[in-house]
Point group: D2
Amino acid sequence: MTTFGESHGPAIGCVLDGVPAGLTIDEEYIQAQMQRRRPGQNAFATARKEADRVEILSGVFEGKSTGTPIAMVIYNTNQKSKDYGNVKDLFRPGHADYTYWAKYGIRDYRGGGRSSARETAARVAAGAVAKLMLKELGIEVRSGIFQIGDIVGEKRDFDYALKSEIFALDPDREEAQKAAVLRAKEAHDSIGGAALVEATGLPAGLGEPIYYKLDAVLADAMMGINAVKAVEIGEGVHSAELLGSQNDDEMGREGFLSHHHGGTLGGIGSGDRLEVKVYFKPTPSIFKPLKTLDIHGREVVCELKGRHDPCVAIRGSVVAEAMMALVLADMVLLNLGRKMDDLVRCYRREA
Amino acid sequence: MTTFGESHGPAIGCVLDGVPAGLTIDEEYIQAQMQRRRPGQNAFATARKEADRVEILSGVFEGKSTGTPIAMVIYNTNQKSKDYGNVKDLFRPGHADYTYWAKYGIRDYRGGGRSSARETAARVAAGAVAKLMLKELGIEVRSGIFQIGDIVGEKRDFDYALKSEIFALDPDREEAQKAAVLRAKEAHDSIGGAALVEATGLPAGLGEPIYYKLDAVLADAMMGINAVKAVEIGEGVHSAELLGSQNDDEMGREGFLSHHHGGTLGGIGSGDRLEVKVYFKPTPSIFKPLKTLDIHGREVVCELKGRHDPCVAIRGSVVAEAMMALVLADMVLLNLGRKMDDLVRCYRREA
Amino acid sequence: MTTFGESHGPAIGCVLDGVPAGLTIDEEYIQAQMQRRRPGQNAFATARKEADRVEILSGVFEGKSTGTPIAMVIYNTNQKSKDYGNVKDLFRPGHADYTYWAKYGIRDYRGGGRSSARETAARVAAGAVAKLMLKELGIEVRSGIFQIGDIVGEKRDFDYALKSEIFALDPDREEAQKAAVLRAKEAHDSIGGAALVEATGLPAGLGEPIYYKLDAVLADAMMGINAVKAVEIGEGVHSAELLGSQNDDEMGREGFLSHHHGGTLGGIGSGDRLEVKVYFKPTPSIFKPLKTLDIHGREVVCELKGRHDPCVAIRGSVVAEAMMALVLADMVLLNLGRKMDDLVRCYRREA
Amino acid sequence: MTTFGESHGPAIGCVLDGVPAGLTIDEEYIQAQMQRRRPGQNAFATARKEADRVEILSGVFEGKSTGTPIAMVIYNTNQKSKDYGNVKDLFRPGHADYTYWAKYGIRDYRGGGRSSARETAARVAAGAVAKLMLKELGIEVRSGIFQIGDIVGEKRDFDYALKSEIFALDPDREEAQKAAVLRAKEAHDSIGGAALVEATGLPAGLGEPIYYKLDAVLADAMMGINAVKAVEIGEGVHSAELLGSQNDDEMGREGFLSHHHGGTLGGIGSGDRLEVKVYFKPTPSIFKPLKTLDIHGREVVCELKGRHDPCVAIRGSVVAEAMMALVLADMVLLNLGRKMDDLVRCYRREA
């Protein structure tokens, strides 16, 4: 996947290469995935409204993938650049303004430009295609929010999450989590949160040793999402507290007898449920004065106006789900023919 | 970096490409780095003894790098394969035995083969070369252990860690941490732990947007180390609990006024101290009976003998330090000429 | 560079990553380059008319590159799909119809789909940006046609080629070459040709040993252009006939005393004029009946109608020039800091 | 494949990743391939004697590949560095001495260092493993010499070439070709030549559109071999002279009715015989005085002594064969599951 585009440019999009030919590309399904990430739908996300209509420019013919690159474009319909006028020359704390400036010497003040979370819409579109492919193989990827601020849910009801306005996994904690978001919003502040992403129906053996381990590539994919500051697999941080006798998963004829490993051992998928936790920092944009510098090196005060997500984790969970789908689709293709006799058999069929 | 080799084969090694020509390759320094990771030195690591002598096969001429690939080989001198005889056909719980079997249909029973932590010796050798290069640019990478089991240190004394047998960062907690390791060892068990890796002297601007973000690539590098189950940057997991007003780092003329971001913003380095926490699960090899399967699908009991690290995090911290050095060296080279006027200036000098 | 799109889909385009920030993006210049490749301009190219208007979707802000991916789209305005109705199910000889069918099991009959030469328009747009960057460094890339059928020019007048309708390098042979094209066209046939691409103003040292040699990467870039069947550097095919004493280029204080090597030695650029010859087969589409198969395996006769270039080499030379520019821009960036003291100097400036 | 090593360092070698598990690694076969490229065997190659014994360091267990990287090392046993003493500081014409100096500022005078053709021994070892894999799939790669100087053979007897001291494909021209080599050798000169590399038993569909075309990747692989200056596929250079009606290959029920395309159409393999011609310049090392510069910029005369191949094409043909095998093995693996229904079928078998 290659993405392009900035939050306030004419369009964002992606080019997805390597999709096998003959996959039915259900555009309604793609649009439904976009809808989940789309802003402007309720009080828990930014009021910025974007149609987020995906247009397929290539790689699909008569409803099926052709095997060639699938290009998808999403036009930006709501480019309210003036909202950003008063922060034109200063570095918004917690944003990439300063680091991009340091790197490129250019201040694209229109809402973060390339570093904006808007870019992730293109990832959701690409992830939707990956999910269509995985579905044909019986692999399902799902996500939801288990934590907002210090309110941590325990239940993991992915079906419930699909319908929840904040994608809450634990119905019993949903109200408290919603209240925390609104409290932050009303205080002109923002709040952190965390998502659980899970894949089921996996074969054992995904991932390549050393250079393209399943866990390493997932960590890369997740940490690369805007605002993510930590990634855990299985027991994660907690594993450092455990003894080997507490953490080792024994096996019986039905498979693993416990699930501390989270689906990867030695960087290779075990076939067991794959579990990744992704932690998002609070949206850096808050509506309180903050000390900062401008591009001339002067100390100034940043006072933001505009529309921002009070809790970027919520929509971020949809992006994390898309990223896992992209990683798994890639791993499935890479894993074909890893045993010589499978290679011979597949090859004979295809040749 | 490309590594090769298995724990009980004749040798392991690596090929490191992209090192600029003319770097003084201090072989004693490389050997000293190897020494830090080397097993068999005290009660806190495996009794397996390896000389871990690095031999340079190419890419160095008259003490300096030539710009061409540097190949380094470490011969395995202590290949006690018989220790593994009794686990020849079964999947050791918590190891990659099962996943490699599922993927490749081959059971290289000699201590994990390619998935053995022995492979990481090659990374330390490569990391030592990267550290030599970074040193010339004023960049320093350091590491240490802040947590063993549930004993979490607070101080961060990297100089102390260098001399500590368990690389402890907090002298006040070192004894308790050592005791925890020995307790696990005596109970034929193992214990988890966590390392802090830090880089200082960095310029702002390292990392490439979207596809090669500094934080994402670090997460990949760290999660790919054997036994790592979680990676945090800056506030990490904790950031999900915070409000924006607590997490945003304000800036003044002297730089950042706080340090929640851990050195990256929007995936690009801020020039501030880079802080990554890496969590290791307890060594899966313990000397207690565990239920498992063998390659014929039979339920069996795994009873390990041999020599193992009671706490893999300790030596793992040296590997994590090497990985950060490799990532930063790469990022520094990639970042050259990111601004057109720098490109013109550099190019004119060189051309 | 990533390109996407098919000849008869809604659009083609490309995403160009790695352009340094602060490069002035002269849209008129880009459009002028497109104009050179654009069909429908005279009797020597296909009558198919395309506006080939490049729209920049990202990566440019206030007329300058931002350092982030530049996405460019060219909408297909002239999608006469019906022209292809009568060849819907058959494999046009010399085209990729059969090989794509064998690979993907899909017959996108609309003019070759992804394998159409229309995709190369996106390369010209990307190449134009590369040329803008190279110009700032004093590097110039030029091209022209030296051969049509068996009429081989001797002179190499690149300025003349710019104005020639067939980009002829040799004014004395232009008329004969034009006549050969028209003769083929009138006979409902097509004809082969060959282009010379040259770069001047280069530094010595471009290209990476073994894995990314300048000559190897150029060969890849050129052979990957539609219809190209041979690539030569310097003496090329002729070098096999020579003695070492005839082919070795001696050096004096002013540089090389002869120019058999064509600008690369050992895969690394010598700084001397870089000369690549690219040979194009005749356009496979001819308007004579040819035996072929259809997707059902039946023997059928292919009788094409429509509009095609009688000599694909002519417009192909513009594509070859763009590809060389892209390769050189990449090589220049990769070459920064290859010597440790240059690295230190550049790094200090930038940091 | 990653290779390392210099001609006069302690060893050269390669790391080959991606080999499926369970392939029988026939070490005698690998050694036999090495033998074909090995110098010092007759009057037509350099007198430098190398045992060229391949030692496998990893990736093979009990005679079979394990799926993990296969590292192979070849120790340099004959490092006569003193032969090069008199050319220590000067740039040998036609060699990479000058370009490496320009790039790296280092003059590794021991026989070209990394740019020496000695590096290609590692490629032959890797290619032998690729050939073992392809053999299991019914794919065969062969090579031979069709041209030495201006003596061009017509017959293509690959079996004969295997036994010929100069790998001649045409028994009728072998004597004349041998005589040309010896004549050059006696005149202290060298001579160019050209190899034909062919693959049979291929499926249609190898190669990826646009970014990894079969013809482009082959051109890259071949042009990257030391001394190669031109690469042709099918009609190659000659295709520029032809009309479409002469060059298009018609198809019938038995397949292609002619073979101008050389096995690729639109960058994708047609399943027909794959034919690549590779042109080698004469060995630059000749024993006649040549004007050149030294590293201090002084005009000097280069007078070489030592042992060199009078015709580098001969042993080069073995390298070209190895490179084609490596490219095809890669392409076969990449092509698995390109159609969705094949993917589902393969995946089900393997999962």
